[in-house]
Structures are given as C-alpha cells and as structure tokens.
Symmetry: D2
Subunit: 138 residues, 4 copies
C-alpha cells in the first residue's frame, strides 16, 4: 500500500473521497517517474534529434505531475480554487505528453511505458475532478 | 539583467514577445522565492496557528510558480496547449495566495512583501496570456 | 512493479546494479510523499507550535528526495561525481528528519509512518552508495 | 533588490551573515534559471547529439540549485547538519556543469552564459560554507 494511502488513512481533512485522492496521487507520482526516465531514455537514443518534442513534453509533464502531487497531498486549509485549475492543467499536459509518446511507442518500450503512465494519470485527474463535482469541492 | 532575459536574447524560438516572456519568468522566480521565505517566516511566528492557511497557500504558490518558470523557459518544441492552462492555473493561485497574505500584511512585513510578489506575478501571467492572444500562441 | 523498475528493465546504462537503483528510486519517491503529507498533517495539528521543527525538516527532506529521484533516474551521461554527494546529502537529511519524526511517533501515526519512510530511504541511499563502491561508480 | 534580500531584512533567524546568505540564494536562483534555459537551448540545437552530456548536467544542476534555494530560504529551526552537505553537493554539481558548459562556450553564447552562472553559484556556495565556518554554523 502506498504512503499516499497510508497517510490519508491516519489523517484526512478534505471532503473528497480518500480512495480517489490516494489513487490520483499515486498516478501522479508514477507519471512523474515515468516521464523523468523517458526524457532520459530519449536523450540517450541514437537518433536524439527525432525525440526532441518527446523530451520537452516529458520534462514538462514530470514537473507538473510532481507539483500536483504535492498540492493534492496538502489537506490542511484545503482550497478547491487552487487545486482544480492545477489538476485540469495536469490532465491536459498528460494528454499531450501521452499523445507524443504514443507516436514512438512501437519503436521504444520506454515510450510505451510512459504513454501508459500518462494515460492513467490523465484518467486519474479526471476521476478526481468528477469526484469533487459530486462532493463539495476538489 | 536577469538570466531569463539574457538567455532569451541569445536564443529564442517562440512567437511570444521576448520582453513579456522574460518579465513573466522573472516575476515567477521572484514569487516562488517570496512564497518560500514567507511560509518559513510564518512558521517561525509566535502565533503559528493563525498562519496555517497562509503557510499552505505559500507552499502551493511556490511550487506552482517554480514549475511554471521551468515550463515557460522551455522554448524548444513550444506547445501553447501545455503552457496556457498552467499559466492560467498559476495566475489563479497567485491571486488566492496574494489575498491571504493581504490579510496579514499590516501585521507582518514578510506577508506584505509576499503579497506584492504574488500580485506582480499574477499580473505578469495575465500579461503573458494577453500577449499570446495577440500573437499566435502563449 | 514500479515504473522505476519497469523503465530500468527496458533501458539502462549505468554500471550500478539495476535492482538496487530501482529500490533506491522507489524509497526516495515514497519518502518524498510521506514527508510532504507529514508536513501537512503537522500543520493541521491542534498544537502546531510544537511541530515546527518537524514541518521544516519534512519540507527539506521532501525537496531533497524529489530531486535525488530525478538525478538517479537519469542514466544517460551518468556522472558519479554528481550523484554521490547528492545521495550522501540525502541520506544525512533522511536521518535527521527520521530522528525528529521519531520524537512524535508515539503521539502521531503520521509521524510514525514518516519516520519509517525516512529510515527506509536513508538505508536505500546507503545501499546504493555501497553498491557503487563495489561496482565502478554510483 | 531581490526578494531573498528583502525577506531576510524583515525576518531572519540564522547565525549566518545575511548578506552572504542572500547572495547565495540569488546565485542559486540565477543558476537554476540559466541551466533550465541552457538545457532547452541545447535541445533545440542542430547537432543535439553532441549536447547530450550538457543537457543532462544542466537538468541535474537546475534541480539541485532549485532545492538548495528552498532549503537555504528556510531560517526557522535552522539545522546546519541538513544545509551543509546539500550546499557542498550543490557546489560540486555547479563545478561539473560549469566545466561541461565551458567546452561549448565558444560555440554557443547560451553555454557561455550558463557557465558564468554555474561558476558564480559554485563560488557563492563556497562563500556561504566559509562564512558558516567562521560563524556558528551554515
């Protein structure tokens, strides 16, 4: 069980469903990890010139997912006005990065893995936004 | 002259006005610095309990501004679909953090400085979004 | 299986044992997550004044672990002269943060969990340094 | 005047000389900015393959400088055992990144600027460590 879930089990404050929140944090952490490693794998490629867009998007996606993880992990003084636009931006960026990784997924297993992590993370962000709509806030 | 401006002077790729972009990156860096220091100053306050919301928002704002700085500094394979929602989220978060700092600005000079940095950063983000509207993209 | 392990399985470049490296990256990610959540849980405490040192160390530890994860995930153009001092600094900071969390572990389950994550991460960093000594580099 | 200096002027807690501390935080912020932009400029180069080591080191250096900025900006519950190894690691990484940028400085003005930022940051880190030796701690 991830530390995100364990920590939310012993202390939690927001009105959002804990399981959905923990799953989103885990997906964000996974995506940040996959994107950081994929940018690096691309950089080591024999034909790095063709991977430039992928590297750039992976760097952006890793940065945004890392920060979204932190903001979502903060339950004290929770503020949907802060969280929601960031999660929406994150879903958009995961979609763009996933699309670019998909273009290289047949050639490179690392891009295939990264596409998967981006798709899961985008979905997890959208699930959280939907759960927040149903509850009081995100 | 900041390194953001110097670097954009010697290499630049996007369709956005360089001066507006450099000013936004500088405002984001300033805001991240002010928020990190303000969260810490709040934490050292005699009455830290009353500063909890301010600390939380400053931590979020520092994180989001730092990441926006990085994404905006990446000119290669520039993608407005990634940048715009992040800059919009950043403006929203700066506005919220600035409002909270304003509540403590008369009592604490560090909150007054942080409010100023947040307001400037919010405005810089909005200027960049407007410049991008006028040009091809953000 | 974590994305760190999956990515290293499909591409890897360094001379360090892949299993040790993947385990370290996972421990660093876990520790960053636990520390971010613990700082926030402390901040929501009724007696936040007594948790100030814990919050501060958790913020530092989360930051340093996050960055160490990224640097270790970069296998291309691997450079032990960069990695080793960072991993050593990370082990030291995890030890300090773990000691502080231990002081509150009986009172707060969130501090107990965070202490555990810090201890595991410190050990993982030391294991990686030892593996690097045995191999060519870290 | 930078926000680092302004914030330290209105609240400060450590035993280290404020001017040296503010100068180090500014140099770290500058270096993080220069390295982020330089990695991106390298990525857009016609011959990106030859810039791979430079990109990798710039990504690492930007990450470590950003985190060192945050840790040094935290004056509350200051702990030299945490700060010193991180600043030492940062100086080492700036030296390595500066050396690599120097190899491309004649060809690329962006690498020349980045080398300059790395050298200044390394020196600022060493100045801070020396000031801390003279005072009680870093």
């Amino acid at each position: 069980m991830s530390y995100a879930k364990q920590m939310l089990d012993v202390y939690a404050a927001s009105t959002v469903d804990e399981k959905v929140l923990a799953a989103t944090i885990d997906a964000l952490n996974d995506c940040a990890q996959a994107c950081t490693a994929d940018a690096d794998a691309d950089l080591g490629d024999d034909n790095v010139a063709r991977m430039v867009t992928c590297i750039r998007l992976c760097l952006d996606c890793a940065d945004v997912c890392t920060v979204a993880t932190r903001v979502l992990s903060r339950q004290t003084a929770y503020d949907a006005a802060v969280t929601r636009p960031l999660v929406e931006a994150c879903a958009t960026i995961c979609a763009r990065c996933g699309d670019e990784c998909a273009r290289h997924a047949e050639t490179y297993p690392h891009c295939q893995l990264c596409e998967e992590a981006c798709r899961r993370c985008e979905q997890a962000c959208r699930n959280l936004l939907a759960a927040a709509e149903r509850g009081t806030d995100a």
